[in-house]
Symmetry: C3
């Protein structure tokens, strides 16, 4: 079954990005969260602001109880065929925060697919029971295919892409930019001020390190960073695992300065943020990762002396050798906060898709500003 599926990827339609985005953002259909390119700067900024509001409101028992009534009449299906604990728990936590109940299918062996059902029918079935489908899938383009299919049902519902194939992981990109934003903004000012409107990315150098060829989180984040003129991107990877040409084209077209490198040790001192990624052996069929100098793509404890005080160290996790656990204790380590930020950002995304963001903003204005 898996074999068959992997050999027949749902190729994204051969149209350009603008057409794909338009098909996902139709006014007469639900908003599907599938590609990072769907989010313009205003939307990104508003979602970061909304995530901050949810975090503040969620800090009290009363606030939590308000949040948990917002979507108590809606239910989500998490169809997570590709192994993932972190993203799965992040989404379920986000659902719980906004009061949404959910079901899950994580293993084809307990499903009707063992009786010969097509995966399309499985998705159509979900759409009869649930109000949202969150998919994580090994096939590139799968979430986009689901969005198209759901738009044809008599009761269309939104889909979230929680990672499909090596293509994109848009909600990870949103939590990453939220983490960068919070780190660059520094200590919180007055709570009534809209914090996420200034371009704090201008003049900042952000390095991406590791396997940039297969790391879909980097691809999605690169798209979003192009909304912030003046940011400078460093792509540091072994030549054979370099960032895709399509991304570099996109970055160039948006007038963003970038540089390629192959040794983190030469660049760490100039970074405002360093986004570490692991070498993904599980996708490695050709054995490219054998001959790599891992130290050139690792952040070690010995390098801490070169860190800028305001450096933000990030990692989508799980980490392996490329990020020394002894760095966890440093103020520059943002990767655990990044995990928690993901929960708030996903709650913000869900709230927005179901149009309860307004209720959150009203509640925040009423109780959390002075």
């Amino acid at each position: 079954m898996t074999q068959t599926l992997q050999s027949q990827p749902y190729a994204p339609p051969p149209t350009d990005s603008a057409h794909r985005v338009a098909a996902l953002n139709r006014n007469d259909k639900p908003f599907h969260v599938v590609l990072a390119q769907q989010f313009d700067r205003t939307t990104v900024d508003q979602l970061c602001q909304l995530a901050d509001m949810i975090r503040s409101i969620g800090g009290s028992r009363q606030g939590n109880q308000f949040l948990s009534t917002l979507l108590s009449h809606r239910r989500a299906m998490l169809y997570f065929i590709q192994p993932s604990t972190r993203t799965f728990l992040s989404f379920t936590s986000a659902c719980q925060i906004v009061g949404m109940r959910y079901g899950e299918v994580r293993d084809r062996s307990t499903s009707s697919e063992v009786k010969g059902e097509s995966e399309d029918d499985t998705i159509r079935t979900f759409s009869q029971y649930f109000d949202l489908i969150i998919v994580r899938h090994p096939m590139e383009g799968f979430a986009e295919h689901v969005a198209t299919m759901l738009n044809e049902m008599s009761r269309p519902i939104p889909v979230f892409n929680a990672g499909s194939g090596k293509d994109q992981h848009p909600t990870q990109a949103m939590l990453d930019i939220y983490t960068l934003y919070r780190s660059f903004l520094g200590p919180q000012g007055t709570r009534s001020e809209p914090r996420y409107s200034r371009n704090v990315f201008a003049g900042k150098t952000i390095a991406f390190v590791g396997d940039l060829k297969r790391g879909r989180t980097v691809r999605s984040l690169a798209y979003l960073l192009c909304r912030y003129p003046g940011v400078r991107l460093l792509f540091i990877s072994p030549p054979e695992l370099g960032i895709g040409e399509d991304i570099l084209d996109y970055v160039s077209r948006h007038g963003i300065e970038y540089e390629l490198g192959n040794d983190l040790r030469k660049h760490i001192g100039e970074c405002d943020a360093v986004y570490m990624t692991r070498l993904q052996d599980e996708h490695d069929v050709a054995g490219e990762s054998k001959k790599i100098d891992y130290y050139a793509y690792s952040l070690t404890y010995e390098m801490a002396g070169q860190f800028r005080p305001s450096l933000a160290i990030m990692h989508p996790l799980p980490r392996r050798h490329e990020l020394d656990p002894r760095l966890d204790a440093l103020p520059q380590a943002k990767y655990w906060a990044q995990v928690r930020n993901g929960m708030w950002m996903r709650a913000a995304l869900i709230a927005s898709v179901f149009n309860v963001d307004v209720a959150i903003r009203d509640h925040y204005q009423a109780y959390y500003t002075f």
Copy 2:
């Protein structure tokens, strides 16, 4: 373990149907939903009416919040040892609609049975934590055995049969008759009128197609249709996969007209409803399904010209070749609605077993009639 279990089926007690029904409907014990024969016509009609009310109330956020308080003090265990996504999600969705929390056991490998516990002790344990047990099991008669065992505990609780062996699947039969009812009744009239009391089945021809020998949903539905005088049943199957003699006896005893056939193509034009089923290879030990002319038991796109305008195409799903996906777009296709109907019907059944049906009727009368 599975081997041992399957070679020792819990044979239903060798008493007649009336005795079995009486044992499940005892006044001094919880009501167990195990056999289709337990439901007389009044009960079927009232449950269909209740399912409609839940659907209407569940259409609004306020209505949903009312529903979700009904059984927030009760909890269900779903013991689904036989693979099933559709029925599992239907029941969990139904639980969520009426506010019931639940736990699940779907895999013996995570359970205490690997330490040598008997399955009876496993069920007894569940009965200490939960207020309802929903079982799906490969063994014929298992749910009935559980009902008997639970009646002996100091704190008896109800059991739902979500499919055991090739015997019965009563909640599927209830959702099927609900779907037929809705289809035959046509567009909804004034909402205050009790719709489910007229015998709209009289004069209708309903065809069952495919493997009728092992398809437990057909068996259960046939029992229920016998409550509606004047309905005509067509059983279309390969001779070696024909409907059981016990069902034909039951149908005859209730004065229902039936006919046997072996080619759907000859009958499709006379059908008011056609209930497709798949050939269940997974139960096929003797290889009977090899020599069958599949086209005689399939509904193809080419046959659409012969469909009556009011035809209801149904299928318990999952489907394979016997039901062409291109038919999905036709107004006659009712199988996706059938999936969703199952959720409402199961919510109605749960509500009834816990006696909160009255609260639903009161709420409906107060807010949804004019």
Copy 3:
């Protein structure tokens, strides 16, 4: 992975019990439920009283709805790597009773550990999403290690030990002592009276039977019984599966009388409670269990004539041959009640750790006393 983990147990720190307890009960950190020794007599008594209150309040729909608001703003992670249905469902039921939502990880194959993540990072990730971690793990000392690690995070949260290795199972011990208490106290008096303060254990003989070497529940319960002067303990086991010397030392130091035996048949008539355990083949690597006279460590139907009328038969379950199912019908059988007691006791423990025990006591005083 499992191999590696099992060959590197997290050895408990080589300090004495008092130091370990102090590290888990720090005033500036959350209270971690890891060792039975953490609970002094006042705490045990109060928790039993609290469990009774929750049981009473949970008997009505309104009471249940009160309970389910208590921790609706908190969420728990159940990390159950070692197979367990009973304890898992007991904890999830307890969470549901106090309104706590939860997530679960029960299988490393769906987790990020397959991508090479360390288990420590897995736990750190959980701590970003959840407010409580409940762990069941094959490694001795694992829960204690987690407590230490969580205390170092910027957002420390409590951990519950739901069984780690052959060391301890403190929540099982708490439910066991609660069951003994209820059995020795007899029929409930006026509900306003604090029942759990008298030492009803004084003068009672409690036998532990079976594999006492590897049965962690017995170890934990023995610690707790030492809080009740005058109790007499009987340890009945094959010599090669005897209770640990560390436990006998602890019992002696606390002035508790005990006796060792090797045949239950000689002692059953003098017992006020008999705590049966199964021979745990799954831990048996050296084959010690082959040569044992199982009848000497079994409770058979034939022995019922020798039972004291007030005998309490207990078993942590699952049972095998050592406890005859025909005994279930006797009033002396307390093992099914023991299962249900576990749910109330765990709800009491969770409520206490999050300081909502006061709200429960207030509610009980207001509505359930006369």
